[in-house]
Amino acid sequence: MTQRSGVLNRPSVVHAGASRRRGLWIPAAGLVLLCALGLVRIFSPVQGGLLPDRVQDGVTLALSVLIESMPFVVLGIVFSIVVRIWLPEAAIMRVLPRNPLARRAVVSMIGMFLPVCECGNVPLARGLMVRGLTVAESMTFLFAAPIINPITIITTHQAFGFDDGILVGRLVGGFVIANLLGWVFSRHPNPESLLTPRFAAECRLPEHDEHGSRLERSIRLFGRETAMLLPALFVGAIAAALVQTLVPRSVLVALGSNPVWSIAAMLVLAFVISVCSNVDAFFILPFASTFLPGSVVVFLLFGAMLDIKMIALLRTTFTSRTLLQVATIIVLASAAVGVIVNVLA
């Protein structure tokens, strides 16, 4: 910290005139609103039937996505706080190999030690980037960790065992695709341009600029990360629910028996469903008899890396252009893995 003393005072100098107390009336108003809603709910005679079925189902679905991912997002933010504030700066960088390829290969295994699903990975990847990982390296982590982590491996094994190469296809495919993405984006001449301007600015700031104890900084960081991620999570959940109430699932399942269409159908299904990678194996299991094994692998690969909710979350960190490129690569690569599994199995 001492070597940074030169920049330590910068914010106070720049913002000397901006000293003001943070008002508390918004959280106060929020608390009042929460209590008011609670009271109305407790004392109102309404027992449902207020909304048309489809709207009510949409609300239930959106809430279900939210409640399912909320704990993972919170866990991800907590891990991210540990990485950004409590771990010594050199700790992560020291254990990583110098060679870029080997480095990304190791980075894609971090999920084995910090098992959160894809939505929890977003704050963690942000934390790793602020801590000095390159954009390409954190992308490798971001897309490998939801698949190469103990919980996902256990649930996928519970669901499929070693049948049809589904588990192996998922793990190997996830590792290869994540490292491919990392390699492609490591060639980018100006990696910072891949990030949203706001997040790029956050990465440029030395972390120790901030005043206050570690505990206080942790709490502030929690506030900032939730402010970025929660609105995105809500929007993602709403979009996922909307698509699910509008597109009949039976349409997708009907496409399942055709070798080409079933891969396309699985890509769409995985994108729409937005379930976390830790549990998606159970979701797809009932369809396993309808779809070819390779198509199931496509679902398990693509769904773990990208879905409607993830796009909304990732948009807090990456530009739309970057996400489009990432999505294209993941779609093509996971479809290719699916075809390979279909041929081999």
Binding site: R198, F234, P286
Partner: protein, 274 residues
Amino acid sequence: MSSHNRFWRELRHWRGVLLLAAIAVGSIWWAITGQLVLFIHPRYLVFTVIMAVVALAFGVARVLVSTGRVADADHSHSDHSDRSGDEDDAVDTRLQRALSMAALTLATLLATGALLLPPSTLSVATASQRDVTASSTSSITGSSTAGVTTSAGADAQTFRHYTVLEWSSLLSQTSDPAFYANKPADVTGFVTPDPAASDVFYVTRFVITCCAVDAQPVGVPVYLPDWTHKFSPDDWVTVTGEFGLNGSAASSAVLALHPAGVTHVAEPRDPYLF
């Protein structure tokens, strides 16, 4: 700086904590009233409640930091969050600001609706577009599916405890009417009309493996001409009877439950099967 800007900055600062608090409060509340299972599989209850408590603790701590209760070396409040707030204003275009406002409005609407409306089970509208007649349910694991060989010799008492899930798994394995003789069924679920036949409905339950998002309707066909006079879709019913050849010509099901009795019942506390 205009008051409008000030308001926006404050809102942006607190939005995450408030939205998270809303879901956390909702989760804990529904866990207490037993309604959290309407959204997620019971195996995630404890984890969800623990993380909700962690989230609320952080939220309270965030407010305390702002009041200066937590040991604070710096009272000028030129902290990082204030600075990034200013930078945000500089970086944001009008469009981004509008989008971000729209997102926040949507999120607030959902959070308000969530806490205001009673939590509810998915309805027949979702069941019918997820294809209740599909016979892919036999491979749902982690659920109590039944095998033909193990079920063949079981006694009547066992069959009375079978849910629509076990019956539909049996139906997908064998459609030999002789197998179902002297095997009384007693199943509860909601009414979903057979899309093809007016004299058949399905007693349906949603099976969830993770959360309501993956809810898959599972049902068994009931042959009851004129059922529409007494029941409407989404009604919860208990049907007793035995399976036999489906009397309906239009229905795609080979076998159907021939009801000895169909009664209206209240929705169970735990409407999903796992």
